[in-house]
């Protein structure tokens, strides 16, 4: 990819980020933070590339850790967010 294409993609992503978030109500800020937290776990893709390209012990160790951290970030992030949002969805029920 050319430099200018990459910069274009990045700048547009930043603007979408700014626009989309401005409308989220305060009530959902915690799940939102948690969801964006899971999304930046996309660095896991980088971790996988690094691990698969590693050709010495140090490289393998770094890649292994990067993937492990990335997976924790992604899986933990999405599961935590889902748990929070599950509560918002539940219908209010009468007291036991």
């Amino acid at each position: 990819m050319t430099l200018i294409a990459v910069i274009t993609i990045f700048v547009l992503a930043v603007f979408v980020g700014l626009e989309v978030i401005a409308k989220v109500p305060q009530t959902l800020h915690t799940p939102l933070m948690s969801a964006t937290n899971a999304i930046h776990g996309v660095i896991l893709v980088g971790g996988v590339i690094v691990l698969l390209r590693a050709d010495d012990t140090v490289g393998l160790a770094i890649g292994f850790l990067a993937v492990l951290f990335g997976v924790l970030n992604v899986v933990g992030g999405f599961v935590v967010t889902d748990r929070m949002l599950e509560m918002f969805k539940r219908k209010p029920r009468s007291d036991k």
Partner: protein, 476 residues
Amino acid sequence: MSDWINVAYLVTAVTFMLALKLMNGPKTARHGNLLAAAGMGLALIATLFLKDGDHSILHNAVGELKSTNLLLLGVASVLGTIAGAWSARRVQMTAMPQMVALFNGLGGGAVALVAVAEYPKLFTHTEAEAMPLGIRLATTVLSLLIGGISFTGSMIAYGKLQELLSGRPITWTGQKLINLGYLIGALVLIFVLQTNGRMDPPFYGLLALALVLGVTLVLPIGGADMPVVISLLNSFTGCAAGLAGFVLGNTALLIGGGLVGASGLILTLDMCKAMNRPLSNVIFGAFGSNAAIQASGSSAQGTVRSTSPEDAAIIFGSANSVIIVPGYGMAVAQAQHVVKELASKLQAQGVDVKYAVHPVAGRMPGHMNVLLAEADVPYEQLFDLDEINSAFPETDVALVIGANDVVNPAARSDKSSPIYGMPILDVDKARTIIVCKRGMAPGFAGIENELFLRPNCLMLFGNAKTSIAKLAAVLE
């Protein structure tokens, strides 16, 4: 083939954007989250089809499967999935902020590790030649710095929220100068790395500096400001991941990182606005340190009236309208369920019950909303600052549960107060205020609260859960 991979990355990017859009409403938010998770899965599968030069990334130059790499990938994935899902399922709703901090830190750590692995390859790889070496070098070095800061910074934030470390700001003499020194050192190293070829010592020196900076920047920030810090570090990790996308020429990383970097920043500034403090004050102000307490100086005089659950129940018995103001104390005591029980009983007796949620109550934006939702409090009964403040003068009882700074009238009147100018909930205008609190200790901002000395304010000392449960029981 690589076209298909890029299409898959594009689809992933679209799911991320749609997910954030679906986050606009509580009904669709959950779908959004699941959609983003599915997109993430797609990106990962696509990555396995990447090519390294002319052969698959899964094979080496002579066509053999890279079994060691794949085995490690499998082990790391399984371990991470089990540990991540297990801890995320087990964590208490009240401990959510530190959980997010921890996951965020791990993400930052992953970015730094990717930068470490990519650095030597910058000088040998020919594949990404379309990108000038200078740019790839700069983005690698920056993602190392930001990822490293985010890693240790988040760990300190985690330690503070989990109360492994003191929630008070930890300060030392010359702190700001030393931090400035670190920062200048980092800039010098970046310059050195940028103007020369491969140089390992300054690269690892920068990594060490980044890790130290994460610690020294977050330690002086008080526990109450951790939500802002986590949000900012979340944005940092996003930016760093986006920068890693530059290095790897990977669109999924570019877009995902860019989205999170931008949205995290907006969220951070939103929170600062809610506290009426600039971001620089949150980061460098050591808010709530002893110095800040002394600066406020004006120790109000008066007597504190304490009450018992039984007496409080009598007051509630004759009330027509009640506003409940939850704070971090409710989260600590896990009192959200008994609070909801009390509210239901009052409502059954025809009392109008509302909840007033301050934007920075708790340790994360919207922290209270999550806890009250956990206790099945209907969304419609929650009101934010602007909607509820006009209702306090017509309210019989304002019940403050473990909130302090967000109801301190000094924010309106006392110019010398560190929180002067912060929008607060005007509970002092209610006819009676009942404050449920463990003791007279000041809130996280470290400021005395003159509200507690007002003649119409009654203190219900004790653990919020026990006190409210007793109150609800007497109310029968």
